[in-house]
Amino acid sequence: MNDFLCRFADQPCVAFSNSREGTIVGLLSIGTLFGVLSTGPIADKLGRRLTIVLWCIVFMVGVVIQIATSRAWIQIAIGRLIAGFGVGGLSVMTPMYQSETAPRQIRGALVSCYQLFITLGILGRHCSYDPTSHMTDCS
């Protein structure tokens, strides 16, 4: 994480200012907002399947923007904004597709699995946080 601070923080290698940290973190949620609001009409027009593919591609574009920079913190923030569109769109589309397609006997279980796997993702993030926080290289 030290490498990340040296590259992107406004006091290099020391700390982020609150405003910069807040911008980077918060832009994802703002992207999510627009993703969620825009996905309904798109899903009605393109169909559930193609919309899911579309948002996956949008998310991957966001990831590309983030890993393509070595110094610019704005690029990290914008990349998170674009990735946020994908996150928002998928967080509507996935339960929608599941609940529309699943047989009624397992419908509840399947949609709950969506939330369960989000929680598993958070667990994975926590598990990876501690071992990687001591790493000093740019990975």
Binding site: A43, R48, R49, V53, C56, V63, P103
Partner: protein
């Protein structure tokens, strides 16, 4: 950060092997495709009564939605009959869920334990 590629890639490729949602198919007039998808999801032949029941449910929902005319504006989430109450109920449930502070506790625990280690 490249790990972020794996889940969306799996999802984008995987979803192409799955059928389109029967409810959307039905809306678009692809009734046969919808029936086929329902039968596949239930794992039964296409003339099974469970498929017929599900198709009837889809039809009823679709007709109930079209009963007030095809065109609904977005602001009807506020102006529609009893809709303001429902919208506010949904919003407050979500807001109160966030206000329990579970996210904050989790994040605080993460950062404080990282500092002390």
């Amino acid at each position: 950060m490249g790990i972020g590629f794996i889940p969306p890639f799996l999802m984008a490729v995987g979803i192409m092997f799955l059928p389109e949602s029967p409810r959307w198919d039905y809306r678009r007039g692809h009734v046969d495709a919808a029936r086929k998808c329902v039968a596949a999801a239930y794992g039964v032949p296409i003339h099974h009564r469970e498929v017929a029941r599900e198709m009837r449910e889809i039809k009823d929902k679709f007709e109930a939605e079209s009963a007030g005319g095809q065109k609904h504006h977005w602001y009807e989430v506020v102006t529609g009959p009893r809709m303001l109450y429902r919208t506010l109920l949904g919003i407050s449930l979500q807001v109160l869920q966030q206000l329990t502070g579970a996210n904050y506790c989790e994040h605080h625990h993460l950062t404080s334990s990282a500092r002390s280690s």
